[in-house]
Symmetry: C2
DNA sequence: TAGTGGTACTCAGTACTACAAAGTAGCAGG
DNA sequence: CCTGCTACTTTGTAGTACTGAGTACCACTA
């Protein structure tokens, strides 16, 4: 119930999934690495559980192709890559983001 | 379950409340008018029910001052104005927005 | 004067999302 | 062997926007 700057979870709803799509779109990668990447990017509080639920959702929606590969650093990794539907969804996400963020910025400028 | 451009509801979660705060901050106003304002601003699918739940939440959090005034155009209106806590919350909202949107834009630019 | 349409508010229930928390499992180094 | 790091899974919870139904008040009009 804090109102501090670092509590961004509500604002990330609906955008985190798109961010994960974008990261996967850049290169085939896996859950743990995606979490670290998001943390690096400034989304410091995003934890693994969140990312894994998103990945399962993407898989269910048929937006990604999954490949299991052994790892030298622990249990096997599940690598994710975008398929055509995923790339389409990603483009849609950026279109929505463009739209929403421009409206909000306009509102901020006292948009009449 | 559509994936069309006009389904923005998930992306608005966490930001709509801030938008309502901003509108109230601009001038004392009431629920119905706020809904129309949001629709004008491009948030076409936002409906009254949503705005009223936000307003009740703001009231519960003690961020607004409420004044009931009779209307010539129907039942009495509940006018909302920001108090000090509300102005603080609004500033916090814009700070968060600045932060989150800049990170997402960076990610979009292929941010390394 | 009954009916319609626009204004204005309320409330119960639902869907979706991010997070918390706990657990399983493998490998490396001391 | 045991601690720490990597890596994945699952269950449950809280918060938010939306749906849909309802109440109520007024103006206009047929």
């Amino acid at each position: 119930m804090r109102a501090t700057m670092d509590d961004l979870t509500e604002m990330l709803k609906g955008t985190l999934e798109g961010c994960v799509l974008e990261i996967i779109g850049g290169e085939e990668t896996y859950g743990y690495a995606i979490t670290r990447r998001l943390n690096e990017l400034g989304f410091a509080d995003v934890v693994e559980g969140t990312v894994y639920t998103i990945l399962l959702r993407l898989e269910k929606k048929g937006l990604v192709q999954v490949t299991k590969r052994p790892s030298a650093q622990g249990p096997p990794r599940k690598f994710y890559a975008l398929n055509d539907a995923g790339r389409e969804e990603l483009a849609m996400f950026w279109a929505k983001w463009e739209y929403v963020s421009s409206r909000i910025d306009k509102l901020k400028e006292g948009g009449r």
